[in-house]
């Protein structure tokens, strides 16, 4: 037995040394892009495709000759869905690896765990995920959709297709709470009435009593900003109770992690949502993107909303570097603040100089046979929520996440 143990210990030791290598060996003259994502653990459904998108974007940049004549080199860390590892790897990226830019973070908690480190160490940071809005910090660029961009489009669309009484079922954390308030606002703006709002921690998976409760209120439409695997059961149980044909359903999150491919057509059909990207978007950019992705990852089809956002983010950064003609952080920030635009698979993405958020296309969709059919595209929506509180051209030293008063 002792032999086995020694063998085992020996192996782990070997592993330790090999794992240490890639961080120490670097070719000179490359541009270092730091990536920090949950490629394993409960959030890897989001993180893995984001990692793929990042590698694809970098590959494309390098194929086209790199940036400023230099190749881009990726230093990637898997945070294993553990918030503590964000702090740790964030420090590692900025202090030891001394990367030129960091792309990553998925949950808002993970972004907040590293944002200050990035700021303190003057490392440019891109957070490329749909989130609750309000971050105002000149060191960060964000190009996911915010509630105003998404909800403002989704609510009238969904209400038009159902009725005026709305019930909100939201995930009980920052994103869900804030999104729910935006939904309440836009429902009222569109002449509707919110008849009930319930919040669910991310680990709740039994919605039986909730479904009964919703029926007591008798709404025409349920909007569900629910997040994660456990919450997916709501859509199952809703269909199982035979509610699908009685009350219409909309969501601000379903499909972001390709959930529509997990639900059966009977469970998913008809659910309405609004995002910056759908695999079914019929544009030449998207066709090309999907083709390249499939070629690069052996026919894989896992690209989704936030993976594409991540891809947009890296392309935006690359464009900023090109325009700045330098790797200097301030030069890149100033170049980006000129309002740079790129064309991506999700449409045109423009940097909003005031907020460092993105002006982007929002596509209204409806699920149909495990696809997200695009019904209508609303071009170039402004991040009005964050614009209401954040003006980095007036207050360049701002460093707050505002909670927007609605």
């Amino acid at each position: 037995m002792s032999l086995n143990r020694r063998d085992f210990l020996g192996r782990t030791a070997a592993l330790t040394t090999t794992a240490m290598l890639p961080t120490a060996v670097f070719a000179d003259g490359t541009i270092k892009l730091g990536s920090i994502l949950d490629a394993s653990g409960p959030f890897d459904a989001y993180g893995k495709p984001m990692d793929q998108a990042m590698r694809m974007a970098v590959a494309e940049i390098n194929e086209a000759g790199g940036l400023l004549g230099r190749q881009v080199e990726v230093t990637a860390y898997d945070t294993q869905s553990d918030m503590a590892l964000y702090s740790q790897y964030g420090q590692q990226l900025t202090r030891q690896d001394k990367v030129d830019v960091v792309h990553g973070g998925i949950l808002s908690a993970s972004r907040e765990a590293i944002r200050q480190t990035m700021r303190k160490t003057k490392t440019l940071y891109f957070y490329n995920v749909l989130y609750e809005g309000g971050v105002c910090d000149r060191n960060i660029f964000i190009n996911g959709v915010t509630p105003a961009q998404q909800v403002e489009a989704l609510v009238p669309f969904a209400m038009k297709n159902s009725g005026k009484k709305v019930y909100i079922l939201a995930a009980d954390y920052n994103y869900g709470q804030i999104t729910a308030r935006w939904i309440q606002k836009f429902v009222a703006d569109n002449g509707g009435e919110v008849v009930g709002t319930d919040f669910f921690p991310l680990d709740v998976s039994d919605f039986g009593s909730t479904i009964a409760k919703v029926q007591t209120a008798g709404p025409d439409l349920v909007i569900a900003p629910l997040v994660g695997g456990a919450h997916l059961s709501f859509f199952r149980q809703w269909a199982a109770a035979g509610m699908k044909d009685k009350i219409a359903l909309a969501s601000t999150t379903l499909g972001v992690g390709n959930e529509h491919k997990v639900l059966t057509p009977e469970e998913g059909n008809g659910i309405m949502c609004a995002y910056n990207y759908s695999q079914e978007l019929d544009t030449p950019e998207n066709a090309q993107f999907k083709e390249k992705w499939a070629a690069m990852f052996d026919g894989d089809q896992s690209m989704h909303e936030i993976a594409v956002s991540h891809y947009h983010g890296i392309k935006t950064w690359a464009e900023g570097v090109r325009q700045a003609g330098s790797l200097d952080r301030m030069a890149i920030i100033e170049a980006l603040e000129t309002g740079i635009s790129i064309m991506g698979p999700g449409g045109k993405v423009t940097v909003d100089p005031k907020t460092h958020h993105a002006v982007l296309d929002v596509h209204l969709m409806q699920m149909q046979d495990q696809q997200m059919k695009v019904i209508e595209t609303l071009p170039q929506r402004q991040p009005v929520d964050t614009q209401a509180v954040c003006d980095l051209s007036a207050n360049p030293n701002d460093n707050t996440q505002y909670e927007i008063q609605i």
Binding site: P42, S205, A230, Q237, A241, V262
Partner: protein
């Protein structure tokens, strides 16, 4: 009590000024609401109790017979879920997959685990807990490597139906029936068969069975197989209701653990009494306030209960029952 508190709550929140409920039902009277609603709530409470029984049965059998707390129990359930989904994907009828294949497969996995790990640790309660905890992590890792970490699932094979103006899930009834059949079957086996007699003997005094010429080794093997199969069954039956990920087991183990310990030494009476107490507490608070408070109420009830009855419910009441 349940209905009243819910009613007043729904009244306060959803019916400001006594506005009729839904325009689609012009003759919607308040009386009807409460009757239908109380039926719906009754079903939900029964369902909560039934799912607690299902979740805990495997753990209870292993604990009751072997005094082993299997902390990989939740992962056995997770494996039951994955077995079902894989089998259905291969074209097997969903009921056969849930009720036959999943218990068998997970039972066999349990058997392997018992031979490789557990049998070296009999009589060391804390060590078995730690080893099975380690096993649970191993299973999560394996499932992640095999099935990936994306949420998977199958849809419920039974359609919902209407109760008055309410739609309720038909699958809830299926769960209740499965739990009821399970309890009756366990009773029948323990009371009516030779194996049950040996099992009861072992529960009372493990050395007695040995003295009577039954190999404890084989009894433990059989028990662990049965316990694991029950966990597999529970995981399989609950799979259509939840999105399955490799870490799904964690959601069950704490509840199962609490239910079994609070139940106390009697296998079936303990299981039923604690599942009923916790199920009712959970659902009452869920309806009256919110699902979170429901969960917290369950946990608080567990603390209070164990403080008052440190030997579990059946340590004080229903003594000597099965």
């Amino acid at each position: 009590m349940t209905t009243r508190s819910t009613k007043s709550k729904s009244n306060r929140v959803f019916l400001p000024g006594g506005v009729p409920l839904a325009p689609r039902h012009p003759f919607y009277s308040f009386k009807q609401v409460s009757m239908d609603l109380s039926f719906v709530i009754a079903v939900e409470v029964l369902y909560a109790v039934a799912s607690l029984v299902l979740i805990s049965a495997g753990l209870a059998v292993v604990f009751g017979m072997m005094k082993v707390i299997n902390l990989a129990h939740g992962e056995f359930m997770m494996l039951g879920g994955y077995t079902t989904i894989t089998a259905v994907g291969l074209g097997v009828n969903v009921f056969i997959a849930m009720l036959v294949i999943a218990p068998l497969v997970v039972g066999l996995i349990g058997l392997i685990v018992e031979r490789l790990v557990i049998r070296h640790l009999y009589g060391r309660l804390v060590d078995t807990m730690l080893a099975t905890w380690g096993l649970s992590l191993v299973f999560i890792g394996l499932a992640t490597m095999i099935f990936g970490n994306t949420t998977t699932g199958i849809s419920t094979p039974i359609p919902g139906f209407a109760v008055g103006d309410y739609q309720i899930s038909g699958y809830n009834f299926f769960i209740i029936v499965v739990a009821a059949v399970l309890v009756i079957a366990m009773l029948a086996v323990l009371r009516g068969t030779r194996a049950g007699l040996i099992a009861r003997g072992t529960m009372q005094r493990a050395d007695m069975a040995a003295a009577l010429g039954y190999s404890p080794d084989r009894i433990y093997m059989a028990t662990f197989f049965c316990g694991s199969a029950l966990s597999g069954l529970a995981g399989a039956v609950l799979a259509p209701l939840v999105g399955l990920v490799p870490t799904s087991g964690g959601a069950y183990i704490a509840k199962a653990f609490i239910t079994v310990i609070a139940g106390g030494p009697s296998l079936i009476a303990g299981l039923l009494s604690s599942a009923t107490s916790f199920g009712v507490v959970n659902q009452v608070f869920t309806f009256a306030i919110s699902p979170v408070i429901g969960e917290v109420a369950l946990l608080v009830a567990a603390v209070v209960l164990l403080r008052l009855m440190p030997q579990g419910i059946t340590g004080r009441f229903f003594k000597g029952k099965l």
